[in-house]
């Protein structure tokens, strides 16, 4: 199921939960921006990551043999 957009009321609640109460009048703009960003990053859900670690846990130098697998 694709992730859903946040409604303005939900975005305001999430922001409060993050300790950043949105000033009056800003909720719609921040909600729209957050939903736009989320729509872009949500495409990464298409990828099957298997055992692939985050890149901060991977040495920079190429390349372990298993890398060939994961990349294909």
């Amino acid at each position: 199921m694709p992730p859903e957009d946040l409604a303005p009321g939900e975005a305001a609640q999430w922001a409060r939960r993050a300790g950043l109460p949105l000033e009056p009048g800003r909720t719609d703009l921040v909600t729209a921006t957050a939903n736009h960003i989320h729509a872009v990053v949500a495409t990464l859900r298409e990828l099957d990551f298997g055992d692939v670690p985050p890149s901060f846990d991977v040495p920079f130098a190429p390349e372990a043999p298993e890398a060939r697998h994961a990349a294909l």
Binding site: L6, A11, W14, A15, A18, G19, L20, L22, E23, R26, L29, V30, T33, A34, I37, H38, V40, V41, A42, T43, L44, R45, L47, F49, V52, P53, P54, S55, F56, V58, F60, A61, P62, E63, A67, R68, A70, A71, L72
Partner: protein, 459 residues
Amino acid sequence: MRPFELTLADAAAAIRAKDLSPVELTDSVLARAEAVEGRLHAYVDVLAERARADAAQAAQEIAAGRPRGPLHGIPMGLKDLIDVKGLPTTASSAVRADHVADGDSAVTVRLADAGAVLLGKTHTHEFAYGLTTPQSRNAWDAERVAGGSSGGSAVAVAAGAATFALGTDTGGSIRVPASLNGVVGLKPTYGLIPRDGVTSLSWSLDHVGPLTRTVRDADLVLAALTGRDAQDSAGDLTGLRVGVPRTYYFDRVAPDVEAAVREAIERLRDLGAELVDVEIPMTRYVKAVQWGLMVPEATAYHERTLRTTPELYAPDVRVLLEAGELLLAGDYLRAQRARTLMRRAWALMMEQVDIVAAPAVPLTAAPVDQQSVQWADGSVESVSDSYVRLSAPANITGAPALTVPVGQDRAGLPIGMQLIGRPLEERTVLRAGRAYEATRTDAGRLAPGPAAEAGSQSR
């Protein structure tokens, strides 16, 4: 030729030959900065007195037989994210109004050790979070954007108001303004140049690097920043395999940009390089990885001030920082894991070729009030998104990427070609760039300013 018109390499040679003193050079560049600042606004602050004192010291050291190398006595600008002890690092933001750096950044120390003369701090898009740098104007046409976020650095170098400059690059912030102002920009391999004392936008993607008039100059600055030797000569490119992207890098690109870059690639072939078609991997996910890393990291960096003084941020930056609070940790980790996949896929592609050649940006400098661009396929893209699009892969993979001027479009605005190498293979990228540069009669040229400025000073 007036001193401010000299490239770094030529100025260094003149200083070495005692035809030019660092004081003369610095005075000339300062006068040039004064003449163009009213139109271009490259600098947050010009430190003329300090620069003259540093230049005088360099002159004394050289006269006493203690030359430090090619950067000794060369005047330069630092993007105002880079700490210099005792000076504010404003990040071109009201948030930093009262800031004073309590130490030097690592790159400041290295440039000071090399004897470079600090002219001042150059404008950045606020906290590097944007692609236009609205405070500054394009050196070729003041009605157009400087590009960003290292806009002030690029404009200063293009106008002769700094012999070289440093910038930072998180999604193209060195290469975009360099291309739009017709100068050279190098984003080195991720981690090659230390970022201590440099204000971060996104730790996973940030790089520090030089903006210069020529590739040769970029090599000299890189050598000073890394402690390795600069390369001797360009030579031919026999044996070099140049990847020409079949996908992505020539999609949704202005026709003049595509034509100029393809012609430049043909010149690489004429120099002996072998052209190889390559398929760029995982292009569907470039923007998602870039945003998935950058947005939450930027928000994390600004956590405190976003709560205490949110009104001091420019509106475009503030909303991005606020929206970043609403992403999930899962989104961020998917971006990190996708980055691993993308690095691996690029490493495989780069087994077929030594460098990839492509446009640096899909369009030249936009008018300052233009928000979006419509492409031939009917799609509409924001100007900022289009400037990031071809830059981001090298930020994500960490690969070294150079932009070199390859001519102008029909409006007379500069076009840049991007040369991307394997991680830590800056030498290959610079070799190709230098060889190309040697084929041009206009390499190292300054931006053509209004006639009124042309005779504003003499040597």
